[in-house]
Amino acid sequence: MRRTSSFNIVAVALGLAFLYLPIAILVIYSFNASRLVTVWGGWSLAWYRALLHDHAMLAAASISLRVAALSATAASVLGTCAAIALTRLGRFRGRLLFSGMVYAPLVMPEVITGLSLLLLFVALDVDRGFWTVVLAHTTLTMCFVTVIVQARLVGFDRSLEEAAMDLGCPPLKTFFAITLPLIAPAIAAGWMLAFSLSLDDLVIASFTTGPGATTLPIRIYSEVRLGVKPEINAICTIMVAVVALGTIVASLMTKRGHARRERAALAAQV
């Protein structure tokens, strides 16, 4: 007896409206022909065309994508290792320190993480630029991967691994034949989260970047500080579209898989 009261419906509807209205407005105004952001001058793709010629913006986007891909991949490896250590090694010496170091970056204010990493790079006398941002983002995002993969490993039926070993599979091979394929969806989700966090980060990148490695958020931020610009609306719309598309495709793929499995299960009973 699940009664959905009108209060609940209103609460959810208002909440979603609050979340989506500003984005919708942003998207609509990116197609505004008028240069004055607030005056509606009819539909136009002018700002998208202008974007194509904004080489600085395109270069920043390319740097951001590369940073995000590299750091998300490194973070997935490190984060998965940390998750395995936390779920499988039981009580080891220094566990408290280790789990503290893993979880702290999740809630650590970005200004602190950014400042401390910058000071490290200065102390080590490393030239700041593309690679320092990759290192910083790897450190930030590996913890998110750990949390996601750990949740999956905690719910993992250990007897699957025992069954593999029982059937003659050595431990290391068992990890690659059984464990890894089964936690792969969690690692993939972690990778995607790490990727989008890296793509999004302004503060830590500002601290750790150097000449020639301006990321997209840094570029957008410097434009936004000077006021609203229609080109910025356009690039934001593209980013929103990419995210929306990715989410829809991902959910459709899992849904198709579900439907196929359900049909087959039905066939099994008949």
Partner: protein, 304 residues
Amino acid sequence: MNRPQKTHWRARAVLLLPSLWLLLFFLVPFVIVVKISVSQTVLAQPPYAPVLDLAAGWRGVEVFFAQLTAEGYRLIVTDPIYLLSYFKSLQVAAISTAILLLIGYPIAYGIARAPRSLQPLLVMLVVLPFWTSFLIRVYAWINILQRDGLLNDLLLGLGLVRGRPEWLSSDAAIYVGVVYSYLPFMVLPLYATLEKMDEALLEAAADLGCPRWKTFWLVTLPLSLPGVAAGVLLCFIPIVGEFVIPDLLGGSRTLMIGQTLWTEFFANRDWPVASAIAVALLALLVVPIVVYQRLQTRQLEDLR
């Protein structure tokens, strides 16, 4: 008996790799921040002194310690700019977390009570904005809140205001931006606990003669407290150190501590003071962070 040893070696590698990484890129940097926070500002590169000169041997170490100073800390406890800045951060974090809870709870509750088949879609809709850029979401509000923006158009159209009031560069704009950006972080943990709750509990309460509104206070709310705690901490801690939102939406009269740190570092190039601010900020947040970690580990153990 070679098997246990081999596992040992592999287990060590799995632990060693992330440990070394976090040690080098998370823990050591903090030690450096602490060290620089007790250094002196100089016009040099790097802009602080002393620099530990190990080549000079023990003498170098002595010189190093002799030059350490608490000047940065003395400054941030005596100059009201910094104290006001800390206070402002705590105030913004506390008030906006309260607003987030008030808005987020009904949304999470509504989703948890929605038909089962609809819930994944609703959760996805709440999470989706989180996947778009943080910067974009804050920027979207500039569009709306600026003097000739849509909010004023709407208010003028309704005849609620005369003239065009300034919304941007105010505390109100900061609250709007913070609440908007952090709403998913509040809704998700709340939904997670509310969704797990056995509906038979509500039926049992109703069966025992408890009216619906009372059931909420006596059963639902107490059982969702872990989710409330998680949501509150997940929002409060990062909001205290927030930089982007106050910088883009807020005014320049009183800065939040994240902005102050940023300014000291980038504009004034005063690294020791920036470091001292960071250490003080961390000291402020260490209790909530530890509480949050406790919650996190307990939740994972419940999953077992």
